[in-house]
Protein backbone atom coordinates (compact mmCIF):
# COMPACT_ATOMS: atom_id res chain seq x y z
CA UNK A 1 0.00 0.00 0.00
CA UNK A 2 2.81 2.36 0.91
CA UNK A 3 4.90 1.16 -2.06
CA UNK A 4 4.38 4.27 -4.21
CA UNK A 5 4.55 6.70 -1.35
CA UNK A 6 7.39 8.90 -0.20
CA UNK A 7 8.16 9.74 3.39
CA UNK A 8 10.53 12.67 3.78
CA UNK A 9 12.26 13.56 7.02
CA UNK A 10 13.77 16.98 7.71
CA UNK A 11 16.70 16.42 10.05
CA UNK A 12 18.88 13.30 10.12
CA UNK A 13 20.06 13.07 13.69
CA UNK A 14 18.88 10.93 16.64
CA UNK A 15 15.24 11.54 15.76
CA UNK A 16 15.35 11.37 11.97
CA UNK A 17 17.72 8.42 11.65
CA UNK A 18 15.96 6.25 14.21
CA UNK A 19 12.67 7.15 12.58
CA UNK A 20 13.90 6.01 9.16
CA UNK A 21 15.05 2.66 10.50
CA UNK A 22 11.88 2.18 12.54
CA UNK A 23 9.63 3.03 9.59
CA UNK A 24 11.31 0.36 7.47
CA UNK A 25 10.99 -2.13 10.30
CA UNK A 26 7.28 -1.37 10.58
CA UNK A 27 6.87 -2.41 6.96
CA UNK A 28 6.83 0.87 5.01
CA UNK A 29 7.55 -0.10 1.39
CA UNK A 30 7.83 3.34 -0.17
CA UNK A 31 10.73 5.74 -0.33
CA UNK A 32 12.33 7.11 2.81
CA UNK A 33 14.41 10.25 2.35
CA UNK A 34 16.35 11.94 5.15
CA UNK A 35 17.50 15.51 4.52
CA UNK A 36 20.02 17.33 6.70
CA UNK A 37 22.09 20.44 6.21
CA UNK A 38 24.93 18.85 8.18
CA UNK A 39 27.24 17.23 5.60
CA UNK A 40 28.49 14.44 7.90
CA UNK A 41 27.07 10.92 8.01
CA UNK A 42 24.68 11.28 10.99
CA UNK A 43 26.45 10.91 14.31
CA UNK A 44 25.81 10.68 18.05
CA UNK A 45 25.53 14.13 19.61
CA UNK A 46 26.14 13.33 23.32
CA UNK A 47 29.82 12.40 22.82
CA UNK A 48 30.49 15.81 21.24
CA UNK A 49 31.02 17.40 24.66
CA UNK A 50 32.35 14.17 26.20
CA UNK A 51 34.59 11.50 24.63
CA UNK A 52 34.64 12.90 21.10
CA UNK A 53 35.95 16.31 22.11
CA UNK A 54 39.07 14.70 23.63
CA UNK A 55 39.36 11.93 21.04
CA UNK A 56 41.86 11.76 18.20
CA UNK A 57 39.30 9.82 16.18
CA UNK A 58 37.20 11.39 13.45
CA UNK A 59 33.43 11.76 13.69
CA UNK A 60 33.05 8.53 11.66
CA UNK A 61 33.82 6.65 14.89
CA UNK A 62 30.59 8.06 16.33
CA UNK A 63 28.19 7.36 13.48
CA UNK A 64 24.63 6.52 14.42
CA UNK A 65 24.56 3.88 11.66
CA UNK A 66 27.10 2.85 9.09
CA UNK A 67 26.74 4.07 5.51
CA UNK A 68 25.93 0.51 4.48
CA UNK A 69 22.99 0.22 6.84
CA UNK A 70 21.20 3.08 5.07
CA UNK A 71 21.72 1.27 1.78
CA UNK A 72 20.51 -1.99 3.30
CA UNK A 73 17.31 -0.32 4.54
CA UNK A 74 16.89 1.68 1.30
CA UNK A 75 17.03 4.94 3.19
CA UNK A 76 18.21 7.79 1.03
CA UNK A 77 20.39 10.41 2.71
CA UNK A 78 20.53 13.92 1.31
CA UNK A 79 23.24 15.57 3.36
CA UNK A 80 24.63 19.07 3.17
CA UNK A 81 21.32 20.50 1.90
CA UNK A 82 18.78 22.54 3.82
CA UNK A 83 15.06 22.55 3.42
CA UNK A 84 14.24 26.17 2.65
CA UNK A 85 10.47 26.03 2.41
CA UNK A 86 7.42 23.80 2.49
CA UNK A 87 4.35 23.99 0.26
CA UNK A 88 1.77 22.07 2.26
CA UNK A 89 -0.91 22.14 -0.45
CA UNK A 90 1.34 20.66 -3.13
CA UNK A 91 3.16 18.58 -0.47
CA UNK A 92 6.54 19.75 -1.73
CA UNK A 93 9.78 20.96 -0.20
CA UNK A 94 12.22 23.37 -1.78
CA UNK A 95 15.83 22.57 -0.96
CA UNK A 96 18.86 24.83 -0.81
CA UNK A 97 20.28 23.24 -3.98
CA UNK A 98 17.21 24.50 -5.85
CA UNK A 99 15.61 21.08 -6.19
CA UNK A 100 12.04 20.25 -5.22
CA UNK A 101 11.16 17.16 -3.21
CA UNK A 102 7.58 15.97 -2.96
CA UNK A 103 6.23 13.99 -0.02
CA UNK A 104 3.22 12.00 1.06
CA UNK A 105 4.23 12.01 4.71
CA UNK A 106 6.56 14.62 6.18
CA UNK A 107 8.44 14.27 9.45
CA UNK A 108 9.98 17.27 11.16
CA UNK A 109 13.00 16.18 13.16
CA UNK A 110 14.57 19.60 13.00
CA UNK A 111 15.84 19.66 16.58
CA UNK A 112 17.27 22.81 18.01
CA UNK A 113 20.16 25.22 17.64
CA UNK A 114 22.33 26.91 20.25
CA UNK A 115 21.40 30.34 21.55
CA UNK A 116 24.06 32.95 20.98
CA UNK A 117 23.01 35.58 23.53
CA UNK A 118 23.07 39.26 22.56
CA UNK A 119 26.16 40.10 24.62
CA UNK A 120 28.05 43.22 23.61
CA UNK A 121 31.05 42.26 21.47
CA UNK A 122 30.04 38.62 21.04
CA UNK A 123 30.00 38.89 17.25
CA UNK A 124 33.58 40.12 17.09
CA UNK A 125 35.03 37.77 19.71
CA UNK A 126 37.82 35.45 18.61
CA UNK A 127 37.41 31.68 18.71
CA UNK A 128 33.91 31.78 20.15
CA UNK A 129 31.85 28.70 19.43
CA UNK A 130 28.69 26.93 20.51
CA UNK A 131 28.74 23.14 20.80
CA UNK A 132 26.06 21.33 18.87
CA UNK A 133 27.68 19.85 15.77
CA UNK A 134 30.78 17.91 14.76
CA UNK A 135 31.97 21.07 13.01
CA UNK A 136 31.73 23.02 16.29
CA UNK A 137 33.95 20.43 17.98
CA UNK A 138 36.48 20.62 15.16
CA UNK A 139 36.52 24.42 15.49
CA UNK A 140 37.07 24.25 19.25
CA UNK A 141 39.83 21.65 18.92
CA UNK A 142 41.64 23.66 16.26
CA UNK A 143 41.27 26.90 18.17
CA UNK A 144 42.68 25.39 21.35
CA UNK A 145 45.60 23.87 19.47
CA UNK A 146 46.54 27.17 17.84
CA UNK A 147 45.72 29.57 20.66
CA UNK A 148 48.52 31.56 22.26
CA UNK A 149 47.27 30.73 25.76
CA UNK A 150 45.26 27.78 27.02
CA UNK A 151 42.71 29.97 28.81
CA UNK A 152 39.16 28.95 28.01
CA UNK A 153 35.94 30.46 29.28
CA UNK A 154 32.75 28.45 29.12
CA UNK A 155 29.65 30.61 29.33
CA UNK A 156 26.84 28.61 30.92
CA UNK A 157 26.94 25.96 33.65
CA UNK A 158 24.43 23.48 32.27
CA UNK A 159 25.27 19.89 31.39
CA UNK A 160 26.82 20.74 28.04
CA UNK A 161 28.91 23.56 29.52
CA UNK A 162 30.11 21.41 32.41
CA UNK A 163 30.92 18.41 30.23
CA UNK A 164 32.79 20.64 27.83
CA UNK A 165 34.75 22.15 30.72
CA UNK A 166 35.75 18.68 31.96
CA UNK A 167 36.82 17.61 28.47
CA UNK A 168 38.78 20.79 27.75
CA UNK A 169 40.57 20.41 31.08
CA UNK A 170 41.59 16.92 30.02
CA UNK A 171 42.99 18.47 26.84
CA UNK A 172 45.23 20.76 28.87
CA UNK A 173 43.14 23.93 28.94
CA UNK A 174 42.73 26.23 31.94
CA UNK A 175 38.97 26.43 32.19
CA UNK A 176 36.63 28.88 33.87
CA UNK A 177 32.88 28.30 33.78
CA UNK A 178 30.71 31.40 34.20
CA UNK A 179 27.15 30.76 35.31
CA UNK A 180 24.55 33.51 35.61
CA UNK A 181 22.42 31.81 38.27
CA UNK A 182 23.35 31.37 41.90
CA UNK A 183 24.13 27.72 41.32
CA UNK A 184 24.96 25.53 38.36
CA UNK A 185 22.31 23.18 36.95
CA UNK A 186 19.78 25.33 38.79
CA UNK A 187 16.88 24.58 36.45
CA UNK A 188 17.34 20.83 36.43
CA UNK A 189 18.64 19.57 39.77
CA UNK A 190 18.39 19.97 43.52
CA UNK A 191 20.92 22.22 45.31
CA UNK A 192 22.70 19.08 46.62
CA UNK A 193 23.60 18.10 43.07
CA UNK A 194 24.72 21.61 42.17
CA UNK A 195 27.07 21.63 45.15
CA UNK A 196 28.38 18.19 44.29
CA UNK A 197 29.25 19.22 40.74
CA UNK A 198 30.76 22.54 41.81
CA UNK A 199 33.07 20.65 44.17
CA UNK A 200 33.84 18.01 41.56
CA UNK A 201 34.98 20.65 39.11
CA UNK A 202 36.97 22.57 41.64
CA UNK A 203 38.78 19.40 42.77
CA UNK A 204 39.71 18.95 39.12
CA UNK A 205 41.04 22.50 38.99
CA UNK A 206 38.27 23.90 36.86
CA UNK A 207 36.83 27.02 38.36
CA UNK A 208 33.09 27.16 38.29
CA UNK A 209 31.85 30.62 39.20
CA UNK A 210 28.22 31.47 39.82
CA UNK A 211 26.22 34.71 39.80
CA UNK A 212 28.37 35.72 36.85
CA UNK A 213 26.27 37.53 34.31
CA UNK A 214 28.41 38.09 31.22
CA UNK A 215 27.70 41.55 29.83
CA UNK A 216 30.49 42.15 27.35
CA UNK A 217 33.35 40.55 25.48
CA UNK A 218 36.29 42.74 24.50
CA UNK A 219 38.77 41.37 22.02
CA UNK A 220 42.28 42.57 21.34
CA UNK A 221 45.13 40.81 19.51
CA UNK A 222 43.30 37.52 19.52
CA UNK A 223 42.65 37.50 23.26
CA UNK A 224 39.14 37.97 24.61
CA UNK A 225 38.27 39.54 27.91
CA UNK A 226 34.95 38.33 29.19
CA UNK A 227 33.36 40.99 31.39
CA UNK A 228 30.69 40.25 34.01
CA UNK A 229 28.05 42.52 35.50
CA UNK A 230 29.81 42.46 38.90
CA UNK A 231 32.87 44.10 37.32
CA UNK A 232 35.07 41.00 37.22
CA UNK A 233 36.67 39.92 33.97
CA UNK A 234 38.32 36.78 32.61
CA UNK A 235 40.83 36.36 29.78
CA UNK A 236 40.13 33.70 27.19
CA UNK A 237 41.72 32.54 23.96
CA UNK A 238 38.73 30.33 23.33
CA UNK A 239 35.13 30.82 24.45
CA UNK A 240 32.48 28.12 24.40
CA UNK A 241 28.87 29.23 24.69
CA UNK A 242 26.44 26.79 26.29
CA UNK A 243 23.46 28.80 27.44
CA UNK A 244 20.64 26.80 25.97
CA UNK A 245 18.87 26.21 22.71
CA UNK A 246 16.21 27.56 20.42
CA UNK A 247 13.85 25.06 18.85
CA UNK A 248 13.94 24.99 15.05
CA UNK A 249 10.29 25.78 14.40
CA UNK A 250 10.56 28.28 11.54
CA UNK A 251 9.47 25.83 8.84
CA UNK A 252 6.61 24.55 10.99
CA UNK A 253 5.52 28.09 11.71
CA UNK A 254 5.63 29.07 8.03
CA UNK A 255 2.94 26.52 7.21
CA UNK A 256 0.82 27.31 10.24
CA UNK A 257 1.40 24.18 12.35
CA UNK A 258 0.30 24.66 15.95
CA UNK A 259 3.29 25.77 18.00
CA UNK A 260 3.59 25.95 21.75
CA UNK A 261 7.10 25.82 23.19
CA UNK A 262 7.87 23.61 20.16
CA UNK A 263 5.80 21.87 17.51
CA UNK A 264 2.70 20.61 19.23
CA UNK A 265 1.96 16.94 18.57
CA UNK A 266 -0.55 14.34 19.72
CA UNK A 267 0.31 11.03 21.42
CA UNK A 268 1.35 9.54 18.07
CA UNK A 269 3.69 12.48 17.30
CA UNK A 270 1.28 13.88 14.68
CA UNK A 271 1.15 17.65 14.27
CA UNK A 272 -1.96 19.71 13.59
CA UNK A 273 -1.56 18.70 9.92
CA UNK A 274 -2.52 15.04 9.34
CA UNK A 275 0.34 14.39 6.90
CA UNK A 276 3.03 15.91 9.09
CA UNK A 277 4.68 14.47 12.21
CA UNK A 278 7.24 16.03 14.56
CA UNK A 279 9.70 14.16 16.78
CA UNK A 280 12.62 14.81 19.11
CA UNK A 281 13.89 18.09 20.51
CA UNK A 282 11.52 20.14 18.33
CA UNK A 283 8.30 18.52 19.56
CA UNK A 284 6.02 19.68 22.34
CA UNK A 285 4.27 16.51 23.39
CA UNK A 286 2.07 15.02 26.06
CA UNK A 287 3.60 12.81 28.71
CA UNK A 288 0.87 10.58 30.18
CA UNK A 289 2.85 9.64 33.29
CA UNK A 290 3.35 13.24 34.38
CA UNK A 291 0.03 14.27 32.87
CA UNK A 292 1.31 17.38 31.11
CA UNK A 293 2.80 18.67 27.88
CA UNK A 294 6.59 18.82 27.81
CA UNK A 295 9.51 19.44 25.51
CA UNK A 296 12.62 17.37 26.11
CA UNK A 297 16.18 17.53 24.87
CA UNK A 298 17.28 13.94 25.10
CA UNK A 299 18.27 10.98 22.99
CA UNK A 300 15.67 8.82 24.71
CA UNK A 301 12.86 11.15 23.69
CA UNK A 302 14.08 11.43 20.09
CA UNK A 303 14.39 7.64 19.75
CA UNK A 304 11.10 6.79 21.44
CA UNK A 305 9.10 9.36 19.51
CA UNK A 306 10.72 8.15 16.30
CA UNK A 307 9.40 4.65 16.99
CA UNK A 308 5.92 5.88 17.89
CA UNK A 309 5.65 8.03 14.76
CA UNK A 310 6.85 5.17 12.55
CA UNK A 311 4.29 2.79 14.05
CA UNK A 312 1.48 5.35 13.69
CA UNK A 313 2.33 6.03 10.05
CA UNK A 314 2.16 2.29 9.37
CA UNK A 315 -1.28 2.11 10.93
CA UNK A 316 -0.30 0.61 14.29
CA UNK A 317 -1.71 1.88 17.53
CA UNK A 318 1.27 2.73 19.69
CA UNK A 319 1.18 5.83 21.82
CA UNK A 320 4.02 7.70 23.44
CA UNK A 321 4.23 6.79 27.10
CA UNK A 322 7.73 6.68 28.50
CA UNK A 323 9.57 7.93 31.55
CA UNK A 324 12.27 10.35 30.40
CA UNK A 325 15.90 9.44 31.08
CA UNK A 326 19.18 11.18 30.51
CA UNK A 327 22.85 10.89 31.41
CA UNK A 328 25.93 13.04 31.79
CA UNK A 329 29.59 12.01 32.07
CA UNK A 330 32.10 14.35 33.72
CA UNK A 331 35.58 13.24 34.87
CA UNK A 332 35.11 9.97 36.78
CA UNK A 333 31.44 10.65 37.43
CA UNK A 334 28.59 9.05 35.59
CA UNK A 335 25.29 10.74 36.31
CA UNK A 336 22.10 8.95 35.28
CA UNK A 337 18.76 10.65 35.62
CA UNK A 338 15.26 9.31 35.30
CA UNK A 339 11.94 11.09 35.55
CA UNK A 340 11.06 14.76 35.75
CA UNK A 341 11.77 16.42 39.09
CA UNK A 342 9.75 19.57 38.45
CA UNK A 343 7.25 20.16 41.25
CA UNK A 344 9.11 18.23 43.96
CA UNK A 345 8.71 19.21 47.61
CA UNK A 346 11.15 16.76 49.22
CA UNK A 347 14.64 15.58 48.34
CA UNK A 348 16.22 12.50 49.92
CA UNK A 349 19.76 11.27 49.53
CA UNK A 350 20.96 7.71 49.73
CA UNK A 351 24.70 7.77 50.04
CA UNK A 352 26.85 4.68 49.63
CA UNK A 353 30.14 6.52 49.19
CA UNK A 354 31.31 10.07 48.49
CA UNK A 355 31.31 9.35 44.78
CA UNK A 356 28.40 6.95 44.80
CA UNK A 357 25.00 8.21 45.84
CA UNK A 358 21.53 9.04 44.59
CA UNK A 359 19.06 11.87 45.01
CA UNK A 360 15.35 11.05 45.12
CA UNK A 361 12.80 13.73 44.28
CA UNK A 362 9.37 13.33 45.83
CA UNK A 363 6.13 15.20 45.69
CA UNK A 364 4.62 14.03 48.95
CA UNK A 365 4.58 10.22 48.62
CA UNK A 366 5.05 10.18 44.85
CA UNK A 367 8.54 9.59 43.50
CA UNK A 368 9.04 12.00 40.60
CA UNK A 369 12.68 11.54 39.63
CA UNK A 370 16.07 10.12 40.60
CA UNK A 371 19.57 11.44 39.96
CA UNK A 372 22.10 8.63 40.39
CA UNK A 373 25.81 9.33 40.68
CA UNK A 374 28.01 6.34 39.81
CA UNK A 375 25.08 4.25 40.86
CA UNK A 376 23.31 2.42 38.06
CA UNK A 377 21.43 0.37 40.61
CA UNK A 378 19.69 3.45 42.01
CA UNK A 379 18.88 4.43 38.45
CA UNK A 380 17.18 1.15 37.55
CA UNK A 381 15.42 0.80 40.91
CA UNK A 382 14.21 4.39 40.59
CA UNK A 383 13.00 3.76 37.06
CA UNK A 384 10.96 0.79 38.20
CA UNK A 385 9.46 2.71 41.13
CA UNK A 386 8.48 5.69 38.99
CA UNK A 387 6.92 3.48 36.30
CA UNK A 388 4.89 1.58 38.87
CA UNK A 389 3.97 4.59 40.99
CA UNK A 390 5.34 2.62 43.92
CA UNK A 391 4.91 3.84 47.49
CA UNK A 392 8.37 3.86 49.00
CA UNK A 393 9.44 3.55 52.60
CA UNK A 394 11.55 6.69 52.80
CA UNK A 395 13.37 5.66 55.96
CA UNK A 396 14.55 2.44 54.40
CA UNK A 397 15.45 4.23 51.20
CA UNK A 398 18.06 6.43 52.86
CA UNK A 399 19.33 3.64 55.12
CA UNK A 400 22.24 2.03 53.29
CA UNK A 401 22.14 -0.97 55.62
CA UNK A 402 18.86 -1.94 53.94
CA UNK A 403 19.49 -4.10 50.87
CA UNK A 404 19.02 -2.05 47.72
CA UNK A 405 16.29 -4.18 46.17
CA UNK A 406 12.84 -2.89 45.18
CA UNK A 407 11.00 -5.36 47.41
CA UNK A 408 12.97 -4.23 50.48
CA UNK A 409 12.19 -0.55 49.95
CA UNK A 410 8.45 -0.61 49.47
CA UNK A 411 6.11 0.57 52.15
CA UNK A 412 4.54 -2.44 53.76
Amino acid sequence: MSANKTCVVIGASHGGVNFGTALRKEGWEGKIILIDKDPEIPYHRPPLSKAYLTSPLGIEAYQLKSKESYVKDSIQLKLGVSVNSIDKEKQELTLSDGSVQSYDILVMATGARPIIPPIKGIKTATNLYPLRTAKDVENIQTALLNASTKDVVVIGGGYIGLETAASLKKMGAEVTVLEREERILARVTAPEMSTFFEELHSSNNVSVLTTKNVVAIETENGINTVVCADGTSYKASVIVVGVGILVNTELASSIGLTLENGIKVDETAKTSNATIYAIGDCSYHFNPHYNRYIRLESVQNAVDQAKVAAAAICGKKTVYNTIPWFWSDQYNVKLQMVGLSQGYNQVLMRKEEDLKFSIWYFKDETLLAVDAVNNAKAYVVGTKFIKENATIDKEKLVDTSVVFKPAELLKS
Binding site: Y62, S66, E68, S69, V299, V303, K334, A376, V380
Partner: protein, 102 residues
Protein backbone atom coordinates in the same frame (compact mmCIF):
# COMPACT_ATOMS: atom_id res chain seq x y z
CA UNK B 1 41.08 -10.33 13.49
CA UNK B 2 38.17 -11.77 15.42
CA UNK B 3 35.14 -13.57 14.07
CA UNK B 4 32.02 -12.67 16.03
CA UNK B 5 28.63 -14.29 15.50
CA UNK B 6 25.32 -12.71 16.49
CA UNK B 7 22.09 -14.65 16.69
CA UNK B 8 19.06 -12.37 16.62
CA UNK B 9 15.69 -13.03 18.26
CA UNK B 10 14.40 -14.12 14.82
CA UNK B 11 17.20 -16.69 14.85
CA UNK B 12 19.06 -14.95 12.09
CA UNK B 13 22.77 -15.77 12.27
CA UNK B 14 25.15 -12.96 11.38
CA UNK B 15 28.87 -13.66 11.19
CA UNK B 16 31.14 -10.63 11.24
CA UNK B 17 34.86 -10.00 11.33
CA UNK B 18 36.59 -7.06 12.93
CA UNK B 19 39.85 -5.95 14.45
CA UNK B 20 38.90 -3.04 16.71
CA UNK B 21 36.10 -0.96 18.16
CA UNK B 22 33.31 -2.12 20.44
CA UNK B 23 31.15 -5.14 19.73
CA UNK B 24 28.09 -2.87 19.96
CA UNK B 25 29.43 -0.62 17.19
CA UNK B 26 30.18 -3.65 15.06
CA UNK B 27 26.60 -4.86 15.49
CA UNK B 28 25.08 -1.44 14.78
CA UNK B 29 27.26 -0.91 11.72
CA UNK B 30 26.03 -4.19 10.34
CA UNK B 31 22.40 -3.67 11.21
CA UNK B 32 22.12 -6.52 13.73
CA UNK B 33 18.45 -6.43 14.80
CA UNK B 34 17.96 -5.73 18.49
CA UNK B 35 21.25 -3.94 19.10
CA UNK B 36 20.42 -0.22 19.06
CA UNK B 37 23.26 1.35 21.01
CA UNK B 38 21.20 4.45 21.76
CA UNK B 39 23.66 5.96 24.27
CA UNK B 40 26.60 5.52 21.94
CA UNK B 41 28.31 2.97 24.16
CA UNK B 42 28.56 4.54 27.60
CA UNK B 43 26.54 1.97 29.54
CA UNK B 44 23.53 4.26 29.94
CA UNK B 45 20.80 2.73 27.81
CA UNK B 46 21.03 -1.07 27.98
CA UNK B 47 19.98 -1.35 24.33
CA UNK B 48 23.00 -3.51 23.53
CA UNK B 49 22.18 -6.52 25.71
CA UNK B 50 23.47 -9.93 24.58
CA UNK B 51 23.80 -13.38 26.12
CA UNK B 52 27.19 -14.94 25.63
CA UNK B 53 27.08 -18.64 24.75
CA UNK B 54 27.94 -20.28 28.11
CA UNK B 55 31.00 -22.06 26.75
CA UNK B 56 32.32 -18.73 25.42
CA UNK B 57 32.25 -16.77 28.66
CA UNK B 58 35.98 -17.39 29.01
CA UNK B 59 36.46 -15.23 25.90
CA UNK B 60 34.34 -12.31 27.06
CA UNK B 61 34.55 -12.43 30.82
CA UNK B 62 31.49 -11.77 32.95
CA UNK B 63 29.55 -8.53 33.28
CA UNK B 64 31.10 -5.67 35.22
CA UNK B 65 29.32 -4.12 38.19
CA UNK B 66 27.68 -1.34 36.19
CA UNK B 67 26.46 -3.80 33.56
CA UNK B 68 25.01 -6.02 36.25
CA UNK B 69 23.32 -3.06 37.90
CA UNK B 70 21.87 -1.80 34.62
CA UNK B 71 20.45 -5.25 33.89
CA UNK B 72 19.45 -6.28 37.37
CA UNK B 73 15.74 -5.65 36.91
CA UNK B 74 15.66 -6.72 33.27
CA UNK B 75 13.30 -9.66 32.77
CA UNK B 76 15.71 -11.30 30.35
CA UNK B 77 18.90 -11.07 32.37
CA UNK B 78 21.01 -14.20 32.78
CA UNK B 79 24.42 -14.98 34.22
CA UNK B 80 25.71 -14.80 30.64
CA UNK B 81 24.36 -11.29 30.04
CA UNK B 82 26.66 -8.53 28.80
CA UNK B 83 26.13 -5.01 27.52
CA UNK B 84 28.18 -5.44 24.40
CA UNK B 85 29.25 -1.79 24.22
CA UNK B 86 31.55 -2.81 27.07
CA UNK B 87 33.17 -5.56 24.99
CA UNK B 88 36.12 -4.47 22.89
CA UNK B 89 36.85 -6.40 19.74
CA UNK B 90 40.16 -8.24 20.06
CA UNK B 91 41.67 -11.58 19.12
CA UNK B 92 40.50 -12.92 22.47
CA UNK B 93 36.90 -12.74 21.21
CA UNK B 94 37.60 -14.80 18.09
CA UNK B 95 34.85 -17.35 17.57
CA UNK B 96 32.46 -15.94 20.16
CA UNK B 97 28.72 -16.42 19.68
CA UNK B 98 26.35 -13.78 21.10
CA UNK B 99 22.61 -14.21 21.36
CA UNK B 100 20.86 -10.84 21.12
CA UNK B 101 18.59 -10.40 24.14
CA UNK B 102 14.86 -9.81 23.64
Amino acid sequence: MAKITFITSDNEKIELEATSGSVMQLAVDNGVQGIDGDCGGVCSCATCHVHVLPEHVSKTGTASEIEQDMLELDDNVSEYSRLCCQLDVSDALDGVVLQVAK
